[in-house]
């Protein structure tokens, strides 16, 4: 019986992890849409196991940055070095295949499907049986489905959303949808997880939960995390390094404390009294 309380390994206190070598390196990325310059000559890197935050005022180009990383947008200039491979740009599917998963700012769940199905979609790249086998739902296909179902249930337990597993996601309140979206991304067992404002629209308590989930993922699986968030408390508390964007340009990069002290950042983003 698998549908019980969370497995122990999710709940234990993590040891402080080490951040490692550079896994993702973005070099001189520029991106524009017609006349709008969304990103101008931005370079930064992400190390293995770290939590890397991107902050900046609205419209600074944070989401665009994530879109570049996982291949939704193709930058006009610059290159991406991922796990030592140099790429001019990513392609969505290749990015997913090579272990980049993400969540979206405007929730992009599959509205007509249940929570469980949404999370199962996250595992699609790990499924190998062809559609004929699936149609017969027999032998390997069936075993595969059940094996992946077990994984999905683990994630459901981990995120504490057991009660809603069969609910169509369209009916869920905003905050839970965000959680489901995280679940879907986790289901892919990614190497890098890109999170676009995972805590928007949550109250403190829920944010605390969410932080916990993110930290645990980071600790337990060693997943590298790139995070966009407007809640400075969260960013300062959980991230290892922070990039600050403003008007498509990078105006700061460093540890939370360094960034907090950076006058440009204060002017552009944090405002006084922070």
């Amino acid at each position: 019986m698998q549908m019980n309380e969370p497995e122990a390994h999710f709940g234990t206190t993590p040891a402080r992890r080490e951040t490692g070598a550079v896994i993702l390196d973005l070099k001189n990325i520029s991106l524009s849409f017609g006349g709008v310059k969304a990103l101008t000559d931005i370079s930064f890197d992400v190390r293995q196991h770290e939590i890397r935050a991107i902050i900046g005022p609205n419209g600074a180009g944070k989401s665009s940055m994530l879109n570049v990383i996982n291949g939704v947008y193709r930058p006009q200039q610059g290159e991406i070095v991922y796990r030592g491979e140099v790429r001019r740009n990513m392609d969505c599917h290749a990015a997913a295949k090579s272990g980049i998963a993400r969540t979206f700012q405007n929730i992009a769940l599959f509205k007509g499907m249940t929570v469980l199905d949404n999370i199962m979609t996250g595992r699609n790249l790990k499924m190998t049986s062809n559609f004929l086998m699936q149609a017969l739902y027999w032998g390997p296909a069936r075993r595969e489905e059940i094996a992946h179902r077990i994984k999905a249930e683990e994630i459901i337990d981990f995120l504490e959303i057991q009660a809603i597993r069969k609910t169509p996601v369209g009916r869920l309140p905003y905050g839970l949808q965000k959680r489901v979206e995280l679940g879907r991304a986790l289901a892919a067992e990614p190497e890098i997880l890109l999170l676009d404002e995972p805590m928007a629209g949550m109250n403190v308590e829920e944010k605390q939960d969410m932080c916990r989930f993110i930290l645990d993922v980071n600790d337990q699986f060693g997943t590298t995390i790139v995070l966009i968030e407007h809640d400075m408390g969260v960013v300062m508390d959980i991230s290892d390094r922070v990039v600050v964007l403003d008007y498509g340009k990078k105006i700061g990069d460093g540890t939370p404390d360094e960034v907090r002290g950076n006058q440009d950042v204060i002017n552009a983003y944090l405002g006084v009294g922070c």
């Binding site: 609205n58 869920l172 629209g201 605390q208 939960d209 959980i238």
Partner: protein, 268 residues
């Protein structure tokens, strides 16, 4: 306390004929006050606001009990258009900008119910642009292509264009950079004190909401479980712990939250 400007009396809401979401919610907004509606995800805040603005019908929700009054008249049978005419505007959760319209056109649709002259419109636009300079820069882009925060500003600006006397704000701070959040609440306060606009705001960012609001309601599982002056609420220990994230020992780092806490509920 002044006579209620807006009052919701014991409403019960069912979605899709089977999902009971509001189980008898009552609340009042006095004229010229800011009232905060707080509560966890799924507590029914958005539903309450949609009930007031009668937008519920489009989502297959039914008000099965209770009534809503605005300026002393029942409004639950009116069309949203009529409500806007009477001065009640809503900013919906999740932005809902018109993707194909430019930011400026979006703002102009907000003034649909006003038979305003060109110059009046221009003045109103200027005011919104003054509040949100970012929108001025992006005025010509289609809203569908703008960033999340820009859309949120656009949605708020659009509601302001109707010059309402009462605004229902659903999570205005969502996805907005911190200093703009402060600005938005500044605008709320500003409109409230200068133009006597009343507000009912559903907000997750409890600390800032209680800072600006006069009065607060806490909603849980479709019921009002606590109400009181904002100042009282922010001193309440439970509220402090669950909604403000501060316990006796002061604010804790998000990194140090060790265990998943089972939420304490006022009503199980």
């Amino acid at each position: 306390m002044a006579a209620p400007y807006l009052s919701v009396n014991n409403v019960e809401v069912i979605y899709d004929h089977v999902i009971l979401v509001l189980k008898g919610v009552s609340l009042q907004v006095p004229q010229g006050k800011i009232v905060a509606l707080l509560g966890a995800n799924g507590a029914g805040k958005s539903t309450t606001l949609k009930t007031i603005s009668t937008l519920l019908r489009g989502e297959r929700g039914d008000v099965t009990k209770g009534e809503v009054q605005f300026k002393g008249e029942r409004i639950d049978q009116l069309t949203p258009n009529e409500l806007v005419r009477r001065g009640l505007s809503q900013v919906m959760e999740g932005r809902h900008c018109f993707g194909h319209l430019t930011i400026e056109e979006n703002l102009l649709t907000g003034a649909y119910t006003r038979n305003a002259s060109r110059s009046e419109l221009k003045a109103s636009l200027e005011k919104v642009y003054h509040y949100f300079p970012r929108l001025r820069e992006r005025r010509g882009s289609q809203a569908g292509y703008t960033s999340g925060g820009e859309q949120q500003m656009c949605a708020i600006g659009r509601a302001l264009m109707a010059r309402p006397s009462m605004i229902l704000l659903d999570e205005p701070s969502m996805g907005i950079a911190p200093q703009i959040v402060e600005e938005i609440f500044g605008i709320v306060k500003d409109l409230n004190s200068k133009e006597n606009v009343s507000f009912l705001l559903a907000e997750q960012n409890t600390s800032i909401a209680l800072r600006y609001a006069d009065f607060g309601y806490i909603l849980e599982n479709g019921r009002v479980v606590m109400e009181g002056a904002a100042a009282d609420l922010s001193c309440n220990e439970d509220v402090k712990e669950f909604y403000l994230g501060v316990s006796g020992a002061g604010r804790k780092s998000f990194r140090d939250m060790k265990f998943y806490r089972r939420r304490k509920r006022w009503l199980a």
